[in-house]
Amino acid sequence: MEKIFGRPECLTEAPFTYCPGCGHSIAHRLTAEVIDEMKIRDKCIGVASVGCSVFSDMFFNFDFVQAAHGRAPAVATGLKRVKPDCVVFTHQGDGDLASIGTAEMIHSANRGENITVIFINNAIYGMTGGQMAPTTLIGMKTTTSPAGRTAKYMGYPIRVCELLSGLGGVAYLERAAVNNPQGVSRAKRALRHAFEIQVAGLGFTLVELVSQCPTGWGLRPTDAVKWLEKEMKAYYPLGVFKDVSETKSQAVPHA
């Protein structure tokens, strides 16, 4: 009998600590599948960040380093420069990457560090209790914007892919969403492409995964999936924002 589905080899036995319906665990599973398929487990070094994914080092069955809040791209820079033959990636949430770690994100991208950032954008700080994130949508209620985010007092949600797309060191930027099977499949292709570009040594790669956070959003998992589809995708268009491995490097929306 042929086994057609199983646990990826590079995931440990540790159960995910994420809430039901969370996008982080989908991202981990996809990352693990891609690493298995590319047979690069022995060369992989993951960098865990701070937030809900703080325990991601427990889930992957290869070398991992835990970084301080926002500093994962700097840690990954040090790792990759010392071990240029290794595949180095970070797994970061929106608060970690686009708020406290903005400088590390922009400058590692601009230096063209040959690393991959897996960016989970769920528009909220999950671990600390649902506070406003740099990616929280206008009008969205959080524990620190109880009346809803206003642009006047809290500024605008940051679009990371668009922000980074003008930087010279960036090789590949894609935004996908993990709220339906089509999106998950697209997200996996994006992750694979990012790792392949890293292996080819072409520069900085980032895959933004727009993800649902039912707990932080105060929605049932099924409603969170729908809310992402309607609200998040309207502000965060999916697509490839840069890809130096292709001739066309303009933003290409998904079909």
Binding site: K43, F62, F64, R71, A74, L79, R81, D85, A103, E104
Partner: protein
């Protein structure tokens, strides 16, 4: 390369000594008065096949060092007070994750932006840990350019031995001064012992992970006690100091770095004057602090005089070490002020004549 005697600036001597100790990763950000270190490393690392990164911030620099150290490299950064403050977050993580690294603080006057003159006011920050949590870093206070070479090389070894950061606490004067030094030969640094814990190339072994997170109840306390045992071992084995003229001294000065240089000149001056016998205990390791020798000397001299370019920071360590067995006085300068030989002799004489300990500070506005 064999040993050679050359004229070198303190900052450049630290950089070359680091390269010869096997350092192949440098990340740093410009700040006066330490700029010669990254400038030197920018071409020297290229020569020896290492990595030099001018980082976007001090915060990024120490985290790049964290990554490089995780991969088993001998890695370093350097800065001056304001930048070292920014590195404290990363240093706390390096200590928590038990990663070795070397860094130099070429101290300038603080607080705040302060000035760019040499000072010793980062003593507390260096010897108390500096960032959050229960930890220590090994701190060396060189007083010559030669010591900047030798202690830099030692610091790399000590950092690796204990898997903990080790630093040079210099100052703007030592960083900028030129002195003849004997440069040590290039070390054939062997990173293989780090394969037991470093990350990268995991074929054929269980995964390695480097972390300072211990969330399960009780696990952090156990981890911290393990760190404590390590720190106790460092305190028992890594103390370094120089003692001169303490046998027959009327007053024993305690001073490190630049202050100790001036105390030594004052000792010659006092000896020529014939009225005061001045000795010195010069802590070389500031943490671990040479408590024992101070305690011992405090038992047999009446007067100890702490001379420092800060408001009585090391003074507290000397008071703790002397344990009330001697009168401990203080001559403090701050904000880039350097004590003169005359000030030191006058302070020693005042201390000797006074019934109680005296604390001498510079005149304010």
């Amino acid at each position: 390369m064999a040993e050679e005697r050359i004229l070198m600036k303190g900052n450049e001597a630290i950089a070359e000594a680091a390269v010869r100790a096997g350092c192949r990763f440098f990340a740093g950000y410009p700040i006066t008065p330490q700029n010669e270190i990254p400038e030197y490393m920018s071409w020297r690392m290229a020569e020896v096949g290492g990595t030099f990164i001018q980082s976007e911030s001090e915060v990024a620099a120490i985290n790049m060092v964290y990554g490089a150290a995780s991969a088993g490299a001998r890695a370093m950064t350097s800065s001056s007070g304001p930048g070292i403050s920014l590195k404290q977050e990363g240093l706390s993580y390096l200590c928590g994750a038990e990663l070795p690294c070397f860094y130099a603080n070429i101290v300038r006057g603080g607080p705040g932006l302060g000035n760019i003159a040499g000072a010793q006011s980062d003593y507390f920050q260096s010897t108390r840990g500096g960032g959050h949590g229960d930890y220590r870093v090994v701190v060396y206070g060189p007083s010559t350019v030669q010591e900047m070479v030798d202690l830099t090389m030692l610091a790399f070894d000590v950092a690796d031995k204990y898997r903990n950061p080790a630093m040079i606490l210099g100052d703007g004067i030592l960083g900028q001064m030129m002195e003849p030094v004997v440069m040590r030969p290039m070390k054939d640094y062997d990173p293989s012992p780090k394969a037991a814990w470093a990350v990268g190339d995991s074929a054929g072994r269980a995964r390695h992970y480097i972390s300072s997170v211990y969330l399960s109840p009780g696990t952090l306390e156990k981890h911290n006690v393990r760190l404590l045992r390590k720190y106790q071992k460092i305190e028992a084995t890594e103390v370094r100091y120089e003692a001169v003229g303490i046998e027959d001294a009327d007053v024993v000065a305690v001073a490190y770095g630049t202050s100790a240089r001036v105390v030594k000149s004052a000792m010659s001056m006092a000896k020529a004057g014939g009225k005061l016998r001045l000795g010195i205990i010069r802590p070389i390791s500031l943490w671990p602090f040479p408590k024992e020798i101070i305690r011992e000397v405090a038992g047999r001299v009446r007067d100890i005089l702490v001379v420092e370019m800060s408001f009585g920071q090391m003074y507290e360590d000397v008071l703790i070490s002397a344990c009330g067995r001697a009168k401990v006085s203080l001559l403090a300068r701050t904000g880039g002020g350097v004590p003169s030989e005359e000030e030191i002799i006058e302070a020693a004489e005042r201390a000797r004549k006074s019934k109680d300990a005296v604390e001498i500070y510079p005149a304010g506005e």
